[in-house]
Amino acid sequence: MPQISLVSKNFQYPDQVELQAALSRGAWEQWKRVLAEKIPPAAIIEEVKAAKLRGQGGAGFPTGVKWGFVPKDSPKPKYLCVNADEGEPGTFKDRAILENDPHLMLEGVAITCYAVGIHTAFVYMRGEFYQPQRVMEKAIREATEAGLLGKNIQGSGFDLDVIVHMGAGAYICGEETALLNSLEGWKGWPRLKPPFPAVVGAFGCPTVINNVETMAGVPHIMRLGAAEFQKLGTEKDGGTKLFAISGHVAKPGVYEMTMGSSLKELIYDVAGGLPGGRRLKAVIPGGSSAPVLKADEIDVPLEFEAMAAAGTMLGSGAVIVLDETVSIPEVFMVTARFYAHESCGQCTQCREGCTWIYKISKKILAGHGQPSDLDLMLDLADNMNGKTVCPLGAAMALPTIGFLKKFPHEFLALMKS
């Protein structure tokens, strides 16, 4: 069984959000050990690199490598931003960590800050996450009172403040540089790169930006050691991954899998398959911006490279299962509506293109489409794809190409002549 309990191990205990209960289950132990044994920060970075931990927010960038980009001798302060702006439709795995095991993430934050030399960490949280906000703020308060965060932690001389910052509910603020602008009080518009945030980030200072789940993996690397952790996954993707599966499955929810398990296993073995004996039509495997897979394409390992080879992406691990009752043009219209609404409006192609595609998709659903509309949308997608500051343009273009190329007959069926 590829299912595993590592990050999600303590999700089952309702009192895991309380510090005492969490401590009794081993929370904060690795942090205390790091401080007590005075493990050199460079050794922690090496350990994380060796563990092949990759960013779990969607891009899959090697975490240790990212930390290594932060200049060592910068006279400026350095910051950590935990990206808890989980907004991709279909994604709800970070929320599970934030609500069920905040101390696990905080321990990862503490170890990360120690490794990179950071004394202020921001948890940038999605505007609608009221419950996670309450849980996280309480956990920070308790950990600070217990001397696990704050000034001179455990007598080590290391200081760390963790601040929860609530966003205002914009999808784009999950993009790391838009997140930084939002954090600084500006409009959430992505920034041009370079400079990368590791060099010029929050308030012009070097900044590490990591996903919640990535942070939650760090204490496990310290506990298991890099080799053990890496072995849970594949050669290039170490450890486990949380998958948020939704749609037409018997048991939707968050499941932890070893890296490299197959998508088919996740849908049929773990999530209980499709209910009511219905047949599978399509799967959106990595959040709404991932190109769709047809029913016969799902025997693919859940791993960054393999998914890319299959013409889609692992993304944030949000699997949306669509059965035979679903109208693909309708799914497409809803997806386009989302991106048209959430485009930040900075780059021309994304600002105008998302809305244009949405308007065409609506027109097709209303029965006024023409076959040439499909070519037009594909051409618009090509004009958007990869030509914008941030990946939101591509996030609309890729599913457009996916839906239109794999299910053209469903669109054509809506056209009268």
Binding site: A170, I172, K187, W189, L192, A340, H341, E342, S343, C344, G345, Q346, C347, T348, Q349, R351, E352, G353, C354, T355, W356, K359, I360, K363, L376, L380, D382, N383, M384, K387, T388, V389
Partner: protein, 539 residues
């Protein structure tokens, strides 16, 4: 100094030069909307995509956000980049009202220009367009049509970065996004109209110029702003060929001219609005008392009065006030006449103005006159024992000064009560003026003067920089340049010298003055070196 190849041609540019400027050095235009050399790079319009080949790897990227590097190979026009730009243009036009026939920006609009190169395709849009605010006043001098806006954020960045107050912002998101004032704020900074120059399309328009004239009728002439002592480089946009539209109106607007050492790309709203005097309340015929006469008669009468005055009252009984809105050439010839020939003592240029600018951190100085420094450089001013302006006015009031020559200033209008009845207390008043003001009405002799836009000349700004302005218009009526009036008067009074034109005066006045005599009259003075020196305010 990295050396790179752009469209097959090698070019060397300074470190940190981006690809738009590097290409411009070769005369290659990379289309762009949001990039402006005076503002930060945001890379949001995505129009300037070019193919960049570096270390064997090709990619399509922004020319504005990528800096030239050694060995870089850039291709501006490839099938891919042209398609990408066509795509951007199509997206920008998607919600655009395409109302060029009634848009003031038509003719100097980037959307139009780029459409000629990258457009001309079938309209593929068959879904409704957005509607956004139109004819919306964002400030006292600027009006917005948000439907024409391409959301390049240049105006927003101008307010933030150059003026330093966030007065405009882009609100909302997605394609419903709209440019508008910050809540509770007006676009009322003293440089607000620069956003109209920055606007690459017809979204932000100058109220003063709105519906005044199609831009292709306008002739653009290099000039210097006379509205404070900064000496900002400007273009005067004039049209004398379509008089039937607005009889008498010849100057339509002022646009900034790039000069890295003086005003960069900007000018103040004060300078931009200060051209009405050129076409309003002008005088064009010489007068003796209330009677219109010929130049010969008027100059003869003036010379007669001066000669008689010198005889009866002596040099101490005569006073001269010349406003330093006159050029260096005017000041130099005036000095030769008044100080050197007539040996007058009470000669001054320190005249007050009712139009005081408020100095700020950007361009405006607190001096209303453009050429005070030039008057100082040329030694124009009172002789030993001569009085300054305030004392001359007082002396005129209490009868110590009997004959007064005033040039280029509406003394009564400025001094109000302090100059009341001045003309009546004097023996005579000779008035050299462009406007039919109160003083002109009561002068014994009125000599009509051409304004700076009607002849060439030079101003010296408060930092000592000498800059030339060109002739934009023919002089109003029979009016003549001030220096020529002084020269003809001098000849009536026995002077042997004469100059052929402004250039000859400038050559003479420059001698022995390093700030002046290195300048070539036929070159445009002042504009320093730089890649932007292509004499067009639009970027």
């Amino acid at each position: 100094m990295p050396e790179l190849t752009i469209d097959g041609r090698a070019v060397q540019v300074p470190d940190g030069t981006n690809l738009i400027l590097a290409a411009r050095k070769l005369g290659i235009d990379v289309p762009h909307f949001c990039y402006h050399p005076g503002l930060t790079v945001v890379g949001s319009c995505r129009m300037c995509q070019v193919e960049i080949e570096m270390g064997g790897r090709k990619r399509m990227d922004l020319a504005c956000a990528n800096q030239a590097a050694d060995g870089m190979v850039v291709r501006v026009n490839t099938p891919e980049t042209i398609k990408a730009r066509k795509g951007v243009l199509e997206f920008l036009l998607m919600n655009h009202p395409i109302d060029c026939p009634v848009c003031d920006d038509a003719g100097e609009c980037k959307l139009q220009d780029y459409y000629m190169v990258h457009g001309l395709y079938q309209n593929r849009l068959d879904v409704p367009k957005w509607h956004k605010p139109k004819v919306y006043s964002v400030g006292p001098r600027v009006i917005l049509d948000a439907e024409r806006c391409v959301l390049c954020s240049r105006c927003v960045r101008f307010c933030d970065e150059i003026w330093g107050d966030r007065q405009l912002g882009i609100f909302g998101h997605g394609s419903e996004e709209v440019l508008i004032n910050y809540p509770g704020k007006e676009l009322d900074n003293p440089y607000s109209v620069n956003v109209v120059d920055l606007c690459p399309v017809g979204a932000l328009l100058e109220k003063k110029f709105r519906f005044q004239r199609r831009v292709w009728y306008l002739k653009s002439v290099k000039s210097i702003c006379p509205r404070c002592s900064r000496g900002c480089n400007i273009y005067l946009h004039v049209d004398q060929d379509h008089d039937y539209k607005q009889p008498g109106k010849r100057v339509f607007r002022v646009k900034p001219r790039y000069n890295p050492e003086v005003n960069r790309w900007w000018i103040s709203d004060r300078g931009r609005n200060g051209f009405d005097f050129i076409d309003q309340n002008r005088v064009g015929v010489p007068r003796i008392q209330d009677e219109e006469v010929t130049w010969e008669e008027a100059l003869g009468r003036a010379a007669e009065l001066i000669r008689a005055g010198l005889k009866t009252w002596g040099p101490q009984g005569l006073g001269v006030l010349v406003a330093p809105s006159a050029s260096n050439e005017d000041a130099f010839v005036a000095r030769r006449l008044l100080r050197d020939l007539l040996k007058l003592e009470h000669v001054d240029f320190d005249v007050p103005s009712s139009d005081q600018p408020q100095a700020d951190h950007l361009l405006l100085t607190d001096d209303p006159y453009p050429n005070r420094q030039g008057f100082r450089d040329l030694g124009f001013g009172p002789g030993e024992g001569g009085m300054r302006t305030a004392d001359i006015v007082k002396a005129a009031q209490n009868g110590k000064i009997k004959g007064l020559i005033v040039a280029g200033t509406d003394l009564e209008g400025v001094l109000g009560d302090r100059a009341a009845g001045l003309a009546e207390k004097l023996g005579w008043l000779i008035c050299v003026s462009y406007a039919g003001d109160a003083l002109w009405q009561r002068a014994a002799v009125g000599l009509p003067m051409a304004v700076y836009a009607e002849r060439p000349g030079t101003f010296t700004n408060f930092k000592g920089k000498v800059q030339k302005f060109e002739q934009a218009l023919t002089p109003f009526g029979a009016s003549q340049p001030q220096w020529l009036i002084w020269q003809r008067l001098a000849q009536k009074l026995g002077a042997k010298w004469s100059y052929e034109d402004e250039r000859a005066v400038f050559k003479d006045l420059s001698q022995g003055k390093p700030a002046y005599d290195t300048l070539d009259w036929f070159a445009t003075f002042g504009a320093g070196p730089g890649p932007y020196n292509d004499n067009w305010y639009m970027w």
